[in-house]
């Protein structure tokens, strides 16, 4: 079937389920892109589903970062303390595919006709690098962002939650209103903006937390975007696309893996050209 491309993934939206699949193929099997995993696919699928209807509770299997999911999508992820079944479940397939399904509904897996072949050598090396990073004993010499620091800012990092300030919308939010009162008015920014500047750091000059993967990628690229709601931000570009950057180019922000340290993946928003 012809797929809808959404946040760099293939999506099939049905009344009782949403299928999200990686567009990348290796030896006739779907594989994750260079900075994607089951969590990033699930977030994309949930955000797509949430455009159509609310999701009150969600059950997620092992292998998906429930905290990131909850922060990025503002959904309640069912925990052990919750009674009863969740209204929606996430199902994982072996082949870089995720299904978000209404409780009790039957799923007919979609077969998309979009396939992007990946280089086997690159894919193997990238997988090995992620595995090495994800080892709990792996501590890079990168600037340290602790788990609690990451989680404290997860909402503003993953959903672009900002606040109204004296001079307009401020992102990320501050611990003061900037308006001389105690009330902080939150504002969710639209996940898209235009390029103000960009750079590509050579592999040798990339921050050391990217040291394992930057050589495979030929360096890492960062863009400064002016978000459509006003504030600016800096974001990595997605790993599996090579956009031709220019001033004023419109880009969207999608959830991807940033890096892993101490067995814990730091997720964040990365920029990709709106080209679907």
């Amino acid at each position: 079937m012809t797929a809808e491309v959404w946040m760099g993934y293939l999506v099939d939206h049905q009344p009782d389920f949403t299928v999200v699949q990686s567009p990348f193929v290796l030896e006739q099997s779907r594989v994750f892109g260079a900075d994607s995993d089951a969590t990033t696919l699930t977030v994309a699928g949930l955000l797509h589903r949430l455009n159509h209807e609310p999701i009150s509770s969600l059950g997620v299997p092992e292998g998906i970062d429930a905290d990131t999911l909850a922060a990025a999508c503002n959904v309640h992820v069912q925990g052990e303390e919750d009674e009863g079944d969740p209204h929606w479940d996430v199902l994982l397939s072996d082949e870089a595919t995720v299904v978000i399904v209404r409780q009790g509904a039957e799923v007919e897996l979609s077969h998309f006709d979009v396939e992007i072949a990946v280089d086997p050598e690159f894919h193997t090396a990238m997988e090995a690098a992620w595995q090495q990073e994800l080892n709990a004993a792996h501590v890079s010499q990168g600037a340290y962002v602790s788990k609690s620091q990451y989680e404290e800012a997860a909402k503003s990092r993953l959903t672009l939650e900002g606040q109204h300030g004296a001079k307009g919308v401020v992102w990320p939010p501050r611990y003061s209103s900037g308006q001389g009162d105690d009330e902080v008015k939150r504002h969710l920014l639209s996940p898209s903006g235009t390029v103000q500047s960009w750079t590509t750091l050579s592999a040798a000059g990339a921050p050391s937390e990217f040291a394992l993967r930057a050589p495979l990628l030929g360096g890492i690229s960062t863009v400064m975007l002016e978000l459509h709601d006003g504030p600016k931000g800096v974001f990595l570009t997605v790993d599996d696309e090579e956009p031709t950057l220019d001033f004023g180019l419109s880009m969207e922000l999608v959830l991807r893996r940033i890096y892993a340290q101490e067995g814990f993946v730091r997720y964040g928003l990365k920029a990709r050209t709106i080209q679907d």
């Binding site: 890079s140 010499q141 990168g142 600037a143 340290y144 962002v145 620091q149 800012a153 990092r157 990320p172 103000q196 500047s197 960009w198 750079t199 590509t200 750091l201 050579s202 040798a204 000059g205 990339a206 921050p207 050391s208 937390e209 990217f210 040291a211 890492i220 690229s221 960062t222 400064m224 504030p231 600016k232 931000g233 800096v234 974001f235 990595l236 001033f247 940033i258 730091r266 964040g268």
Partner: protein, 405 residues
Amino acid sequence: MSIRWYEMLRGDALAMVDVAVVGAGQTKYGNHPLGLKGMWAEAAAKAFSSVDGDFQPSLIDEAFIGSLAFGGSQLGNTAALLTEHSDLDGISVRRVENACASSGFAFRDAWMAIKSGQADVVVAGGIEKMNDLTPERRRYWLGVSGDTEWERLAGLTFPGTYALMARRYFHEFDSSHDDLVHVSVKNHLHGSTNPLAHIQKEVSFEKAASGFMVADPLTLYDCCPTSDGASCVVLAADHVAKSLTDTPVWVRGSGAASDHLALHDRPSITQLKATQQAANRAYGMAGVSAGQIDVAEVHDCFTIAEVLATEDLGFAMRGEGGQFAREGRGVLNQGQTTVNCSGGLKAKGHPLGATGTGQVVEVFKQLRGDVEHTRQVRDAEVGLTHNVGGSGATCAVHVFGRDRA
């Protein structure tokens, strides 16, 4: 006009206390064979021996030492560790940290200590040992002074941050990478005759234009080296300074400011508001304008930083910093203001915490006519130092004069 804090504390009469630099010294920058203690001892000894009169370290009331404590080997009580190697036992000491502007602010703190009347003779210095680390550890420490949580997770190091500024600058103004190459060539030229510089070698335009790409559009020749080094200056109240030297260099103005830590939080990324504010305050206090500065040591951690600084400090109009570099207006004795006659951070080197007071060492010597004649600024009467922390979150600017006012 607002009342200065020290006028409120001490009254108008004591507000007349002037502060002079009476001694200054530094190590050679580069791969220094000594560690923290040895480098500090060397810089302090040079500073103390440069004082003309009968000077003993026992005269010193306070010491402020700037350092990022790169490498983390002596993060706590750094100043106390160092000063016992320079005969400063028992006095009040502390480390001052504002990233690359650490000793610019240490100098300001020393100046304020004398202005307040609490001290008569104060040491300001800075130090960094950077080359004893593995490349991986070095990259960690080079990235800790940005907004780590947001900029680092976006893959940015400081070369990357300044690369964003450079590309935007080229887009907004009539400028290209060639202008940055001119900055690099000039500073290498100046550094080639500075025996204390890390890199004492000229570089051709062609070579500087084709360097290894570090962070597009910045190449290796746009980036300062990673240097070890220490610097130390002795400041004195006017009533003491007269007994120590016949040729004091007066601190005529001190200004400092801060800005958002993260580059993306600033309305413009092609100007540093902290520099503009610090400079305006320093100029105002000194009663001089940018056009009266003969010699300026500006913070060129990357070549684009010098282009922006020439505008923010008022040596060039907004958007004309590239042209300033292209026309060679900062080259030794070629224009109104010689910029980075020491070689700047680009060639003299950038031992982070040592840079600010290292700039003061150069201006002190220039205004006294004490540098090698090959890089002496002619008839230098008024000098300026400009020390920036990170990508512009903090900045200290000082104006110096051979004359008191």
